[in-house]
Amino acid sequence: MRKKLEAQREDLEVNMNAFFNFCLEGKLGEVAVQDVSRIWNYRRLVFTVFEDALSTAYPIAKSIMKKANWIDLVTGFMKENRHAEKELWKMPVELIGYCEEFNIAEKTDMPYLVDLLRFEWAETIVFCEKDFSDEEAERFVFQYKEQTFLFGPHFRLVDSKWEIHTGERGELRPTFYFVYRNADLQASYLLVPPIYAYVIQNIEILFVEGVEEFLKILEFSTQVPESELRKIWEQFFSSFCRLGIIKQVNRIE
């Protein structure tokens, strides 16, 4: 029985692979259909699905890129990438790796492209990602001044060599974007100074060790004097509280 099923599977695979690959690659090859002209409709439909999902995820990149380059990017991505994400809304994340692997930044004369895609994807993911359970959110809790605070918890830090958020061609200027889910559950971002970025990059130490130990470790790694670091921390803390990124909690909400 198992062998029979295996043989059936192989037979199906031969028939289906060619059709499937045609939709992604646009090469007829071994496709066994009676009416070749009509099979191109599948290619068009699949292209529309990909183009639509990528446009939704990367509106800035699309708006800056030349139209022909955008079409080439979508078709190249369809052909070359192994589309492993089952859920369509997650599929665009794979474009970032594809652009890196195939050096699309150079081909499109958009050296900032990968950073821009990472920034735009961070906005998508903080907006979309599953809410954390109370247990998961516990990992983002810290004590300070005898009170309990929750940091985030839906955020990403994008470390970009380029300033890329303006909707215009990127400027070569190291920029740190803190992308987070705001109180209205929308994606927002802040341009943060490098020292804030460093704090955020190491924020897990805060959750594990507490504020005092965290500042000691930062002092050791940055060589910034402790008094100076304490001022920076206070500014960071109060501005992130003001924006609702750090919230006082009695319990995890």
């Binding site: 037979d11 289906m16 499937f20 699949v46 954390f132 889910r181």
Partner: protein
């Protein structure tokens, strides 16, 4: 589980979320349908929106990624997520497409027709059994629209009939797809429906389509339902036990919500006429 759905429902898309949430009482959809893949792993505003809709409407789902006809193994990790979602919203059936959208673990995000072969019937039957066993609910498969003939040993109708017999699954009859396929492949949709395994039909889809050339229609869900598709529904509905009917609209939503409401009213009218006729009979 919730009571089985009945009446006329509407596909839930973000574009019409406000409309659904502020519908009022008149001719309100009896339920809404959504693709579990598009919602089950979302949090934040999307989750809030879904919960608001779920508070007002019974929910049913129509999956896109099962790829039951695919040579690939069943992805039980994915199925577990879908099952959680169905359990959470107390959804009675798992509806999907008789198609494939995955090969060698690569995803296409669109539905391709399965070859109408005996091998495919055997293969799909084996997978359906495992899916139903895992999901602890009946799988209901939709007849999809297709635009090109694939390697076949039998007709589409024979294929669907064999699948229904062999698999022990239910069928979702997409009336628009019958119309689209009949037009594209030159067969009589009424004869098709007469021979369709109607006793297996648990659910009906109605939608609009787009004629892209003299001899080709694409099942877009982006236009109003046309009269010949309503006529097919009128023809088939009296032959079925009472099943829910869904109006599918995925994009190109009418500017005036009244247009969408009119389509729903028309579907309700057809359903009511059939109920009345069967009562008098």
């Amino acid at each position: 589980m919730n009571c089985p759905l009945s009446g006329v429902g509407l596909g839930f898309r973000r574009d019409i979320a406000d409309l659904l949430l502020n519908w009022g009482d008149e001719n309100k959809p009896r339920f809404v349908e959504l693709a579990p893949e598009n919602w089950m792993s979302l949090g934040g505003a999307s989750k809030v929106l879904l919960e608001k809709v779920a508070a007002q409407y019974p929910i049913t789902t129509h999956g896109l990624s099962l790829s039951i006809g695919s040579p690939d193994e069943i992805d039980f990790g994915f199925l577990a997520q879908v099952k959680d979602f169905l359990d959470r919203f107390q959804i009675e059936h798992y509806t999907e497409h008789l198609s494939f959208s995955q090969c060698n673990n690569v995803h296409l995000y669109d539905l391709l027709p399965v070859a109408f072969t005996n091998n495919a019937v055997e293969h799909v039957a084996a997978k359906v059994a495992r899916v139903q066993d895992f999901m602890k609910r009946e799988l209901i498969l939709e007849n999809i629209s297709y635009y090109t003939n694939v390697p076949s040993e039998m007709s589409e109708l024979e294929f669907i009939t064999k699948i229904a017999e062999k698999c022990g699954c239910g069928l979702l009859l997409d009336v628009n797809n019958v119309y689209v396929n009949a037009f594209n492949h030159s067969y009589d949709p009424y004869a098709f429906l007469n021979s369709f395994p109607l006793d297996k039909v648990k659910y009906i889809h109605m939608a609009g389509h787009t004629k892209v050339s003299e001899d080709l229609i694409i099942d877009t869900h982006g236009e109003e339902i046309i009269q010949p598709v309503y006529d097919l529904l009128k023809f088939v509905l009296p032959k079925l036990s009472r099943v829910p009917i869904l109006l599918e609209r995925d994009f190109n939503f009418p500017e005036n919500p009244e247009d969408l409401k009119r389509e729903l009213r028309q579907l309700n009218r057809i359903e009511n006429e059939v109920i009345k006729q069967s009562y008098h009979a």
